[in-house]
């Protein structure tokens, strides 16, 4: 789309207001500088991480072979044990989310500016939750395996730990975003600050918190499918095993099972969210 000559005196306008039409030097060159830097960094990354066509080509061909072997997906006679592992996965996600949601509840209030006046406590709570959030669920799973041994219980604890960090951050943000009038009303009629939290803040934030917890339940189901890779229970163990033994039809079957489960949980949790929260948006 080259600019067409709409105006009769096109060249005249261009010569008089050239600076406005072309924009400042910064506006003109900044996109190229940014794109150049991004590409240079990408090229450096490809060089350092040993990306090469000689490696990508055969890999893609192999992937094609695997895809061919995946059809048709089949449980290969392990349907019962796979279903049990999948139930375990959902149970891990459910319990982990629930425990984290309960345990993070007081932390959310400790980290919110309007319920915790003490800046030191607030700062400590926030750094604490930042720290446990910085460690991936899988790392927590490895640590908990050292404590309670291999099995799904370690998975529950791992999901719980990493979610406590996320929830206390989300909770405190929801608490800070509330309308103050409710708690002011409670305080003005002689309620204590605990009363203000119970009757002025909790009723306001509860629907927001519940809908966030439901969102996390869905994403935790996905996390729970992989913690089995390190031995913390669930379907991940089977999946990793089937990939290692090149049982591609079973791999495809397990992936399909995961997709269907996640879709069902997504559907249920959005129904539940609608029933509890109504049609208002998450941030309000």
């Amino acid at each position: 789309m080259t600019p067409s000559r709409i105006f009769s005196d096109h060249t005249g306008i261009k010569s008089r207001h050239g600076a406005l039409i072309r924009g400042s030097a910064r506006e003109r060159f900044l996109p190229f500088v940014v794109a150049g830097l991004l590409l240079a960094l990408a090229a450096f990354a490809m060089f350092r991480l040993e990306f090469s066509l000689g490696r990508l080509g055969p890999g893609i061909v192999q992937l094609g072979t695997f895809l061919g072997l995946m059809i048709p997906p089949s449980p290969g006679g392990h349907l019962a044990s796979l279903a049990k592992a999948l139930a375990e996965t959902v149970a891990i996600a459910f319990l982990g989310t629930l425990l984290a949601a309960v345990l993070a509840f007081p932390l959310g209030f400790l980290a919110a500016r309007n319920t915790m006046a003490n800046a030191v406590v607030r700062f400590m709570t926030r750094r604490f939750s930042d720290t446990i959030r910085g460690v991936d669920t899988l790392i927590w799973a490895l640590i908990w395996i050292n404590v309670v041994g291999l099995g799904p219980f370690a998975g529950v604890l791992a999901i719980m730990t990493s979610d406590i960090g996320s929830f206390s951050k989300l909770y405190s943000e929801a608490i800070e975003a509330i309308d103050r009038k409710g708690s002011e009303g409670v305080l003005s009629t002689g309620g204590s600050s605990l009363h203000a939290i119970r009757f002025g803040i909790v009723p306001q934030v509860m629907p927001v918190l519940i809908s966030q917890v439901l969102y996390y339940f869905e994403s935790n189901t996905r996390s729970a499918t992989i913690i089995g890779i390190v031995g913390a229970g669930g379907i991940g163990l089977h999946l990793a095993e089937m990939i290692r033994t090149y049982d591609w039809d079973k791999v495809a079957f397990i992936i399909l099972m995961i997709l269907v489960t996640v879709a069902i949980i997504d559907f249920l949790s959005s129904k539940l969210r609608l029933a509890i929260v109504g049609k208002r948006s998450l941030t309000s």
């Binding site: 789309m1 040993e50 192999q62 319990l95 219980f153 290692r244």
Partner: protein, 294 residues
């Protein structure tokens, strides 16, 4: 002043309070039933997941013990007393952290580029046909629902050990996640510039270039940065399955009980994640706020 408050006649109060009590009781019943269902589900889940509070309590000392041991060197001294000994492998670990960041960066960049080209097909307002939209949406869903570590496991078999499968796994997951977010942004744009461009004879991609991209670019960039932040965390565990980065060092240290190494690597990872969080948040605020000010 108390007399100024009108007192309702008793009969009226009774009339009003009966439905109030009823409504309250109904609400209590709903909450109670909800809690009961939750309790039953919890018990069932606890059975399936082999939750054992007894074992937990019996072994909780091992947890504190483990964390305690993380902060002691082999020599028995606290790690803080000899930082040079604690971070003996700093050069090696720093190189792996850089690799992790590069994996996250390259995965995010490639995923964002593919997500950009795919997102328009998944929108209500820019897709060519409902069929195209359906296919694009299902594809994006697939990419983001399968965990990236599963892709990594498969790619490690296909491409061999190393960072390449890690980058590709993160790329596919990012493309699914960003494609969806990008599509939502595109669905909320002002369509007038698009109509103008098409009326002036623009093709679909020309309309996207001149009428859509200027509206959505700050939001796209902001989402991509947010994703980068998430991907740094994701890349830190790619090494668990042999897909490059610091994860390989970490899992080796955990498996071989090199306690002080575990804590040193964790400190490096947490510090990196925090720095990336702060930096990307700064950039994102810079991207979004001038747009709103205009």
């Amino acid at each position: 002043m108390a007399s100024a408050i009108p007192v309702l006649p008793d009969q009226r109060i009774a009339e009003l309070s009966a439905p109030y009590r009823e409504a309250l009781a109904a609400k209590r019943r709903t909450t109670l039933v909800g809690l009961l269902v939750l309790a039953v589900l919890t018990m069932a889940a606890a059975r399936v997941a082999e939750v054992d509070p007894g074992k937990f309590l019996a072994n909780i000392s091992r947890f504190t013990d483990y964390f305690g041991r993380l902060f002691y060197l082999d020599t028995g001294k606290l790690v803080f007393t000899d930082v040079a000994e604690w971070f003996w492998g700093f050069g090696k670990w720093a190189r792996h952290i850089v690799d992790t960041l590069l994996i996250a960066y390259l995965g995010t960049l490639l995923g964002a580029i593919f997500g950009f080209f795919l997102c328009f097909a998944a929108t209500v307002n820019m897709a060519v046909s409902p069929a195209q939209r359906f296919v694009a949406r299902r594809f994006l869903e697939f990419c983001r629902t399968v965990p990236e570590l599963v892709f990594a496991l498969i790619f490690v078999v296909a491409f061999g050990l190393g960072p390449v499968p890690g980058v590709l796994a993160i790329m596919i997951h990012t493309l699914g996640a960003l494609g969806k977010l990008f599509a939502e942004v595109v669905e909320n744009i002002d369509m007038k510039p698009v109509e103008g461009a098409i009326a002036a004879g623009a093709t679909r991609w020309q309309a996207i270039r001149y009428a859509v991209v200027p509206q959505v670019l700050p939001n796209f960039a902001s989402y991509a940065l947010l994703r980068f932040e998430i991907n740094v965390r994701g890349a830190s565990v790619m090494g668990f399955v042999g897909a490059g980065g610091i994860g390989a060092e970490l899992i080796e240290a955990i498996r071989k009980f090199y306690y002080s190494d575990v804590s040193a690597i964790l400190v490096l990872i947490i510090a990196t994640v925090m720095v990336i969080d702060v930096v990307t948040e700064r950039i994102r605020h810079g991207l979004i706020s001038p747009e709103h000010a205009r």
